[in-house]
């Protein structure tokens, strides 16, 4: 598969289809990390394996800028897994990058392993999102490398089961669970920075006028920050779970977003990133629907 990825990258760089290809390379101490390839000669640096967990859609907006004032913006090639491609669709839908300037290299994915992307860690089981994933082939790409598993995939519902477990608790128990999670949060904003859908120029968490939350790193502020972020991602989170992966203290942010995804799919039949055109569920309505509390 990697030969195919490299040769595609080489070709689109050589024929100037794109200025940069965002892919994966080998880092230090066994880590895999994002790579920015600018010439065909460098394409051999790219790797593909079960540790290519980063959602590279996160870099598309930043790379799609003009190299010089007045010059046309860079054309960007990017390697996407199925979940990443959904995130990219959200960006396209939200007009964060024009499709014409992107070359999307989809890669059929067998799932990524826990601890991926970090130096010096042994890879674990499949990441929870990958255990649950039923969609292994990215949609809407210019080219797709690899094929779906022949036997199909039976999602494990690892995250769904955790949602059910929490739903069965009393509200007080749920609050205790989340207080313990948020107590560990450092407010390092890694979740936000790693999130492709968190593209606001000024984050509500840092806005001064009006000031929604203080800068204090205390549980009330942290709870509000995560409540705010989860709500702002409702209908826009495509479930790459980078937020949970990058969190240095293991806050279960994947559950917050998964709650919204499940609820929105159940109520409105909408999956974030299913295409690049369907309006976001919170930016649309059907007059005849009811308040269903």
């Amino acid at each position: 598969m990697i030969e195919q990825i490299c040769s595609i990258a080489e070709q689109i760089l050589a024929d100037k289809t794109v200025d940069v290809v965002i892919g994966y390379e080998a880092g230090t101490r066994g880590a895999v990390r994002p790579a920015f390839i600018r010439s065909a000669a460098e394409a051999g640096r790219l790797v593909w394996n079960d540790a290519c967990t980063h959602n590279l859609a996160n870099y598309v907006r930043e790379k799609h800028v003009s190299p010089k004032k007045g010059a046309p913006p860079a054309k960007v090639g990017v390697i996407l897994k199925a979940c990443d491609a959904r995130a990219l669709n959200v960006l396209l839908r939200d007009n964060q990058a024009p499709r014409a300037d992107l070359y999307l290299i989809g890669v059929a994915c067998q799932g990524m392993r826990q601890n991926s992307g970090f130096a010096g860690r042994d890879l674990g089981d499949l990441e929870l999102r990958c255990q649950d994933c039923a969609e292994r082939v990215p949609a809407g790409c210019d080219v797709v490398v690899g094929e779906a598993p022949a036997a199909g995939v039976a999602p494990a519902s690892a995250i769904a089961r955790e949602l059910d477990r929490l739903a069965a608790l009393s509200p007080a128990e749920r609050q205790a669970f989340w207080d313990a999670e948020f107590a560990r949060c450092l407010r390092c904003y890694a979740c936000r920075q790693a999130c492709p859908a968190c593209y606001c120029v000024e984050c509500t968490a840092e806005q001064l006028e009006p000031s929604w939350i203080g800068v204090a790193i205390r549980t009330p502020e942290k709870r509000f920050f995560h409540t705010m972020r989860a709500y702002h991602l409702a209908g826009r989170c495509a479930g790459c779970d980078e937020c949970a992966r990058v969190c240095p203290v293991g806050v279960r942010l994947d559950l917050l977003n998964a709650w919204f995804r499940r609820e929105i799919e159940g109520t409105y039949g909408y999956r974030a990133g299913q295409d690049a055109t369907t309006p976001a569920p919170l930016a649309s309505f059907v007059p005849s629907e009811s308040l269903d509390l």
Partner: protein
């Protein structure tokens, strides 16, 4: 501290064109309702960012109400349709975070429904009173 019975603090976001007028009507008609509600007048239920409600709970509210125009009656045509989706979700999400869903009430009350306004508010206040104080009572420092 004297042992006073618990009286919930309820924050109500009321649409200017319907429920706020409904509250006025309840008042001028001298209809009794529970006085626990602190009313915040908004131009439309569509103006109510669900985070307003989350923030109210954060700052120590025991219950939150969002009252808008009946579907189809929005002064701005479709503000309450957006509000309906937002609160449909936020209602459950706050519960998922541990804020009992019975502490948040979303309803439609028109300008003519003074009596209904009083009923909705009183019923909700009773409900929250029975639930006891909200446990999220950890006021964050207020914004500078």
């Amino acid at each position: 501290m004297p042992d006073t019975p618990f009286e919930p603090r309820i924050v109500g976001f009321l649409c200017n064109w319907c429920s706020y007028a409904g509250a006025n009507l309840a008042g001028t008609s001298r209809i009794r309702y529970e006085p626990n509600i602190r009313i915040i007048r908004v131009p439309c239920s569509g103006r109510v960012d669900p985070l307003f409600v989350a923030r109210a709970f954060q700052e120590g509210a025991d219950g939150g109400m969002v009252l808008g125009c009946h579907p189809g009656d929005c002064h701005y045509r479709d503000g309450n349709y957006y509000a309906r989706r937002r609160f449909n979700l936020m209602h459950g999400f706050l519960d998922f975070l541990g804020i009992d869903e019975r502490r948040l009430k979303i309803d439609w009350v028109s300008a003519a429904e003074g009596k209904r306004f009083a009923q909705v508010v009183s019923q909700f206040t009773d409900q929250v009173r029975d639930l006891g104080p909200a446990t999220v009572r950890q006021p964050a420092v207020l914004g500078g």
